[in-house]
């Protein structure tokens, strides 16, 4: 439906081709979170890998820092419509986390948990093969607390609500269990290129 009098300000072609449907480019880095920034420091942070309720391995900050580093640079897309280009992150890939724990994925489904008790589900296939890292730096510096520092998940090919801030653990689940937003009307998978914002999209 054409809106009377609206012409808009379409972005240049080289920007438009990098924007998933319904997104616009921002230079800012907006902050979205359910509540206050949790007070997590490198001293109190840890990451736990679980199979259901059973812990498989836990890393403190200094133990985690010894794992191989993976860098990623590219575009991120938030379900609230903004996209940000060429963001640079570094951290530990989910592949290297599993390998350090000496385990292979026990199920095809995972749920990530944050220190703010936020949760989100990601299929294991979307984490492996270098597709996801637990990031500990942004643009060459520690991640600011408002953006999830000391560590956040980065699954950049999905909407950014799938990349929880202040991440504290990864849990394999028997079936695909929705997390916080997925139980409140947001899409179970969240592919920005297919505009999977809400249930049924």
């Amino acid at each position: 439906m054409v809106t009377r009098g609206f012409s808009g300000r379409p972005p240049a072609a080289e920007i438009a081709e990098r924007l998933p449907p319904g997104q616009y480019l921002t230079d800012d880095f907006p902050v979205l979170q359910l509540g206050p920034t949790p007070r997590v420091t490198e001293e109190t942070w840890s990451f736990t890998l679980r199979d259901g309720p059973k812990p498989l391995k836990r890393w403190t900050w200094s133990e985690f820092a010894k794992l191989p580093r993976t860098r990623w640079k590219g575009d991120i897309h938030c379900v609230t419509k903004w996209s940000k280009f060429d963001t640079a992150w570094a951290g530990v890939s989910v592949d290297d986390i599993l390998s350090d724990a000496g385990v292979t994925a026990p199920t095809a489904f995972t749920l990530f948990e944050g220190f703010d008790d936020y949760t989100t589900n990601v299929p294991f296939a979307d984490l492996t093969g270098g597709k996801a890292i637990v990031a500990t730096s942004y643009e060459g510096k520690p991640i600011p607390p408002d953006h999830g520092g000391p560590a956040r998940l980065l699954v950049p090919h999905l909407y950014f609500w799938k990349s929880p801030k202040w991440v504290k653990g990864l849990r394999f689940t028997r079936k695909d269990e929705g997390g916080f937003w997925e139980l409140r009307g947001y899409h179970m998978y969240g592919d920005p290129w297919r505009e999977q914002r809400f249930t049924g999209d």
Binding site: T3, V31, G35, G185
Partner: protein, 239 residues
């Protein structure tokens, strides 16, 4: 079973009214369904060449308001959607909406209280929906709004808020003007938070909405004042 897609609906602008020098109110007709106070809708505008732009806006009206769903939109020069609403949209025009959306920053009268609301600038809009929902339900849940604005002229629904504070039992308003009057230079601070907590009682829900800096600083003050982080819900514009 595939869930049903949330549809885009054509909504007619039924009324437009100025709210502040920069903010206008838009009432939409042709929408069904009830929202929960605090939720938002998506707006989609489409140009003749097929280019379209989408943005999210918080709902200002109470759930089920017979006058139609109300959005309050600030005219930002650089915003392609907000500048359409500021300068082009007229009564009778149609846009596409979908929603309501959001299941975290929400309050309904059955959620009870006490409730502490803290808004900065146009961040008051979803909080206004909560106040209006409280009144529609004739709820007497203790509710206190701290509303921070640069000056009184920029306060959204100032008169309505003052009348509600005068007439509605259990609702109190603290209007803080940070650039004029006796409170010029003051920000929402520790003393103001502690005074509000003493007054409204131990809150069951706290909602904070405004700019990124405002929400960050207020939620830190709340945590410092021993409010449980899990009852604090935040929303920041620009996000």
């Amino acid at each position: 079973m595939a869930a049903e897609k949330m549809p885009w609906r054509t909504a007619r602008i039924g009324a437009i009214a100025p709210v502040t020098p920069r903010v206008k109110s838009f009432r939409f007709e042709g929408l069904e369904g009830r929202h929960r106070a605090g939720q938002h809708v998506e707006v989609r505008l489409t140009a003749p060449d097929g280019y379209s732009a989408q943005r999210s806006y918080s709902i200002a009206s109470a759930p089920g308001d017979a006058a139609g769903l109300e959005l309050m939109i600030e005219g930002l020069e650089e915003g392609e959607v907000s500048s359409y609403f500021a300068g082009i949209a007229e009564v009778g025009d149609e846009v596409e909406l979908r929603g309501p959306i959001g299941g975290s920053f929400v309050w309904s009268p059955e959620d009870e209280g006490p409730v502490l609301l803290i808004g900065g600038g146009s961040g008051v809009v979803p909080l206004l929906s909560m106040l209006r929902a409280r009144f529609s339900a004739r709820s007497e849940t203790p509710m206190l709004l701290i509303y921070s604005v640069r000056n009184a002229a920029e306060a959204i629904a100032r008169e309505e808020l003052q009348i509600r504070a005068r007439d509605e039992p259990g609702f109190d308003l603290t209007l803080l003007t940070t650039r004029e009057g006796a409170t010029a230079g003051r920000r929402v601070d520790r003393v103001m938070i502690e005074t509000a907590l003493d007054h409204v009682g131990k809150p069951r829900h706290v909602f904070v909405c405004g700019s990124n800096g405002f929400v960050g600083s207020v939620s830190d003050l709340l945590v410092d004042a021993s409010v449980k982080p899990s009852i604090i819900r935040t929303e920041r514009f620009g996000g």
